[in-house]
Symmetry: C2
Subunit: 136 residues, 2 copies
């Protein structure tokens, strides 16, 4: 019940990138300096984010990163899924690895729980995270 540090970093990085979205492209080193995350780690997170088409990357001198979509259209659920894969609490949903399988009475109920969690995370968008005065 605790997401990995990579996903945590991804949220912080996306939040920092949303501020520079209007200014165009931002380099990975710039994001590392602003977030305090080690530069190589930022690169790793960014690579996953671009792979999930959440960010757009421009290579070469003067290149950098920028959000692929408006900040309002990106939710925490999207970022978490991009870094940690699909939001599924149990592995038995995808493949039949559980020995019980047919006799497991709990199995049919997991999708309901997964949807509840995903919905809770989908309600949080990047704009709501940048609004620092809306905490209380």
């Amino acid at each position: 019940m605790r997401l990995s540090n990579l996903a945590d970093y991804a949220v912080v990085i996306m939040c920092a990138a949303s501020r520079h979205c209007g200014g165009g492209r931002v380099s990975a080193g710039e994001l590392a300096a602003e977030t305090g995350i080690p530069a190589p780690t930022v690169q790793k997170v960014v690579s996953k984010l671009t792979g999930a088409s959440l960010m757009r990357s421009v290579r070469g001198a003067g290149g950098g990163l920028q959000l692929a979509r408006p900040a309002a259209a990106i939710s925490v659920a999207d970022i978490v899924e991009a870094v940690e894969g699909p939001i599924a609490l149990t592995a038995c949903i995808e493949g039949p690895d559980c020995a019980m399988d047919h006799n497991c009475s709990v199995k049919p109920h997991w999708p309901k729980i997964n949807n509840a969690l995903r919905g809770a995370l989908a309600d949080i968008s990047l704009t709501s995270l940048t609004r620092i005065e809306e905490i209380a």
Copy 2:
């Protein structure tokens, strides 16, 4: 965004124990045979469950396990917290390990997300998991 196998097993074990709750005590080996989980693993999960006062254990010959509370009063959130610790997506909530600390604009919003997730899990009780006909 995926809970550990231990927590998954804990939910299945608690669900299996709830059926034997009326019959009194159940041995760990019995639960292992019904759930298909390796017996030693069941013991480990049970030890954590009893430590969290979710189950009551009786040692000695003829002993066994039983639910400490009615099944309706136990939620998935309780079981997950018992096995995996408090439901907190990020570690920065408890201790100041993040270098940003004061400048992190995302930090104040995590409790809201954590509460949303915990609420989603708290709505699922053991009785709702045993009701197999209420899936759809």
